[in-house]
């Protein structure tokens, strides 16, 4: 299969980016999207050596060897099986590309048509500044978790695991919410760049369990305040997050977050 790629290139955080167009040929339909980018990068590296060969024979300047244009396309990736949450590209108008319930690394080229134009952009949101090309800084999501997305326990001194029975239904719902991989697709998809599904998933996961209920309202308050502070937008119930979540996390979790928020406002600990 052959494709025309339009890739966002940006040398560093402060540089002005632009789209660069690349032609890539003979891609197997079984190839994954990231492997296709690997192939492109390999070609860019080899091509840049050829370029430099030309330039060195002309004026023996080594500096052209490392001209930014020849630098391979930077993109985040790690586990390549859809669980680490490291990869995330905005492909033809959809985070993680044109399929449901997958991450970018689980997208295969057979999902495209031969000769397609593919536009690849980084996640766009104020709290996700671009580091280079398609790599963005998502540490804002960590900061939200640090604001309270945990149960306050210290090692040791906890009761036996079976001391508190948890209804299977609650445990299952908590598990569904907890399957968030923190990739940021919800933020990327949201027209408001809101992290409500991310926050909602964590708040729900912990609020559904008796261990997490203790701090539930307080947790919701702290995490939402942090989210606002970091410059994420707010939810306008568009549910693009739900549509694009690679782990199919439901918007019911946002609803539960709202409920916790109201509880925090009016509840006993609502100061």
């Amino acid at each position: 299969m052959n494709f025309t790629l339009h890739i966002w290139r940006q040398e560093c955080a402060h540089a002005k980016g632009h789209f660069e167009t690349y032609q890539i040929d003979n891609i197997s339909p079984d190839c994954s999207f990231l492997e296709m980018l690997d192939i492109l990068n390999d070609q860019l590296i080899t091509r840049s050596t050829l370029n430099s060969q030309l330039s060195t024979t002309l004026n023996s300047q080594l500096s052209t060897l490392n001209s930014p244009i020849t630098h391979p396309v930077c993109f985040d990736n790690d586990c390549r099986e859809g669980i680490c949450g490291m990869c995330g590209l905005y492909i033809n108008g959809r985070p993680h590309g044109n399929d449901d319930g997958i991450t970018t690394c689980q997208l295969h080229m057979r999902k495209f048509h031969d000769g397609d134009d593919i536009w690849i952009e980084p996640w766009r949101a104020k709290p996700f500044p671009v580091i280079r090309d398609l790599v963005v800084d998502r540490s804002a999501l960590d900061k939200i978790i640090q604001a309270g997305g945990y149960i306050s326990t210290t090692t040791g001194g906890v009761p036996d695991a079976n001391t508190i029975p948890i209804p299977k239904q609650d445990a299952d719902m908590a598990m569904d919410a907890a399957s968030c991989i923190g990739c940021g697709a919800c933020v990327a998809a949201c027209k408001n760049a809101s992290a409500m599904l991310f926050v909602g998933a964590k708040v729900s996961h912990l609020a559904l369990l008796p261990q997490g209920k203790v701090e539930a309202a307080e947790r919701a308050k702290k995490m939402v305040c942090k989210m606002d502070e970091l410059g994420f937008g707010s939810c306008t119930n568009t549910y693009a997050c739900e549509a694009e979540c690679p782990k199919l996390i439901k918007r019911q979790n946002i609803s539960r977050l709202n409920r916790q928020w109201i509880e925090a406002l009016f509840g006993r600990d609502g100061k």
Partner: protein, 654 residues
């Protein structure tokens, strides 16, 4: 080299209790004055940092990804073992200990494994308190499943995402400590060197992966929790960024490396489908419960399938070779991981492979006929779905294709009972150390070990070391040792970047290649000649090929960009440079171990039915290797394994 394992005296079951009762502690006021560096944020690293931070130590934690939650512990599917005996099926600490020792083919240290089994229950308590949503039964109590190598159900699980949930639990605890200010998080930082001052680990040099800056961090102790080196084989179930470099730079600085040849190969992975492939995806081993493994009986059929002229379903029953059922009639498709893996390789090497030639069929047609499609869907639905997503083939209609792949490395930095390496002040935890799994790791034990080390072992044993360190005062990062280490890293990076430039000057450019090109080549060599089955001949060949490849690398690798920017190619090049040395050591270790045990299979040493043949008389020891400089053969010292408690027998699952 001092290989004192520091195993406490006394009966096995009381060793850990005795140790804790008599070890040195640090008082709360002094904890604040002690700095600890933790490298890696997986299960072991995150749990250690969280626990140490909560105790009051000042911790700096580092990871190469953009968030601690990306560590590859997150990909573990199956579950975590613990001797809780919730199922009342006769489980106990003793039994978990015995299973683990036996599973490791009698190549693990008794005291360490016993301690692991002992703290396993507390891990589950800890995780539940953190909000890990383990599977539960309808009564609301914790559910268990059974796993390979055990006769009891002791595996706790959270769907097929146990590793993820445990890591998120530890990540939560870590985040809490970060918020409290006891732990400082450094993301997108790669450890480039260990700084040793007066024989003690006193700090690290890291490269900020965003800016390329080299930074120094000083501390009273360093914990390495950087995982295994499975990516040495390029194609593995490890994540792309998993690497062995942090452990390797410590090895260069004097930490002994133990049992590097013990690598685990998982039999049921989705096979390689092309040269461009970057990693392999694991399919749960449970598939072998109902699937039947086969290849065509006739070579011409296999060839026709590979050429796309025939489909699996075109091969009539009588022309199918159910080789596992044929070779191991008693166990059939349920032979242990290593046996199943080797048998698949044997068939494919003989030319009977399907797909690209390196795959065998895992057929559910019989199971569907016997149980009905619905029952099969109930058991394996999500796995089938995952398979279909990746391969675009419907496993309900055509047989799945599977092939073994590198999965886990039992070898790692040598550590004593306190998890301290041969460099005082340098500790290693999780997959990065060698301690608990012997020559083979049982399923659902890696998570257990990582968390045991981080939550319940290091927070105790490190105090024993740190108690003396309160007199040292703050460690300075401006000493000549730090200067030298940083300079060495700078030289190293420049040297790598210069290769392409040099080649340009000498104008043999047509041969310039990317880092991945060499990594793939190295992986192929290692997989082919030092993979599932090894022998003197193949190892010799591997050694020569690796050496040639390394020379080629230093002549013609091209790394674009500079050291002062975000440059993934440079990161990969550094890791590959270390892999070349590591590969040599793996080969040397495999060569010297003239026996077969667990994940290490020497074709010269096997029983008549192709099982591993141990040589307890000569090889019941841990091989600890000491670095002697680049290109120099490493020296090996033995730590004998003494089994006082357990009776040694053949590892027999029949």
């Amino acid at each position: 080299m001092n290989l004192d394992s520091k195993i406490p005296s006394g009966p096995l079951a009381e060793k850990w209790t005795n140790y804790k009762a008599s070890q040195k502690l640090v008082n709360p006021a002094n904890k604040r004055k002690l700095d600890i560096i933790v490298v890696g944020t997986g299960l072991a690293g995150a749990s250690a940092a969280a626990s140490l931070g909560a105790m009051g130590f000042h911790v700096d934690i580092f990871c190469i990804q953009d968030s601690p939650r990306r560590a590859h512990s997150i990909a573990a599917q199956g579950g975590i073992n613990a001797a809780k005996n919730y199922q009342n099926d006769g489980d106990s600490v003793e039994r978990l200990f015995r299973d683990t020792i036996k599973g490791g083919d009698y190549r693990a240290r008794e005291a360490n494994v016993y301690r692991l089994a002992e703290v396993s229950g507390a891990i589950i308590d800890q995780c539940v308190a953190q909000g890990v949503p383990f599977a539960r039964d309808y009564g609301g109590l914790l559910d268990n499943r059974s796993f390979g190598g055990a006769q009891v159900s002791r595996t706790f699980y959270a769907k097929g995402q146990t590793g993820q949930q445990l890591l998120l639990g530890a990540y939560g605890a870590l985040s809490r400590e970060i918020a409290r200010g006891t732990v400082k998080l450094h993301t997108r930082c790669e450890m480039m060197d260990l700084v040793v001052v007066e024989g003690r680990a006193r700090g690290i040099i890291v490269r900020n992966l965003v800016t390329g800056d080299l930074e120094r961090y000083a501390a009273h102790a360093v914990v390495l929790a950087t995982g295994g080196y499975g990516n040495l084989y390029y194609l593995s179930t490890n994540a792309m960024n998993s690497n062995g470099s942090a452990a390797w730079v410590c090895h260069r600085k004097g930490a002994a490396f133990a049992n590097p040849c013990y690598v685990q190969i998982h039999p049921t992975c989705i096979p390689v489908h092309g040269d461009y492939q970057s990693k392999l995806t694991l399919m749960s081993e449970s598939l072998r419960n109902d699937g039947r493994i086969w290849v065509p009986k006739k070579k011409e059929d296999a060839e026709a399938i590979r050429a796309g002229k025939l489909k699996a379903n075109d091969i009539p029953e009588e022309n199918r070779d159910y080789y596992l059922e044929r070779r191991y009639p008693a166990f059939g498709n349920l032979v242990p991981r290593d046996v199943a893996s080797r048998a698949a390789k044997e068939r494919c090497d003989a030319g009977y492979g399907v797909g690209t030639g390196y795959a065998v069929y895992l057929d559910f047609a019989d199971a569907i006929q016997r149980l009905g499609k619905e029952a099969v869907e109930q058991r394996y639905g999500n796995l089938f779905q995952m398979y279909q997503k990746i391969t675009d083939e419907n496993p309900y209609e055509t047989p799945m294709m599977i092939y073994p792949a590198i999965h886990y490395t039992m070898g790692g930095l040598w550590v004593d009972y306190e998890l301290q390496t041969t460099i005082p002040g340098l500790f290693a935890a999780g997959e990065a150390n060698f301690s608990d799994h012997g020559a083979n790791r049982l399923g659902a034990s890696a998570l257990m070990q990582g968390l045991a080390d981080g939550y319940f072992v290091l927070p105790y044993t490190m105090q024993n070391y740190l108690a003396d360190q309160i007199y040292v005062g703050k460690i300075s990062a401006t000493t000549p040792e730090f200067d030298a280490a940083e300079e060495a890293v700078r030289v190293r990076l420049n040297r790598l970047l210069q290769i392409g430039a040099q080649a340009t000057l000498n104008s043999h450019l047509s041969t310039l290649n990317s880092v991945d090109h060499f990594h793939k080549a190295l992986g192929k060599i290692m997989w082919e000649y030092c993979g599932m089955a090894r022998n003197t001949e193949s190892l010799n060949k591997a050694k020569a090929l690796v050496k040639d490849l390394e020379e080629e690398f230093w002549k013609s690798v091209f790394i674009p960009g500079t050291a002062n920017e975000f440059n993934p190619e440079l990161e990969k090049a550094c890791r590959l440079e270390d892999y070349f040395e590591l590969a040599q050591l793996v080969i040397d270790d495999a060569m010297h171990r003239e026996e077969s045990c667990g994940g290490h299979f020497r074709t010269e040493h096997q029983t008549q039915d192709g099982e591993t043949l141990r040589d307890d008389e000569h090889f019941m020891y841990v091989a600890a290797w000491e670095y002697q400089g680049h290109g120099q053969p490493e020296t090996m010292e033995k730590e004998p394994l003494v089994y006082e408690h357990i009776k040694i027998s053949n590892r027999n699952y029949k």
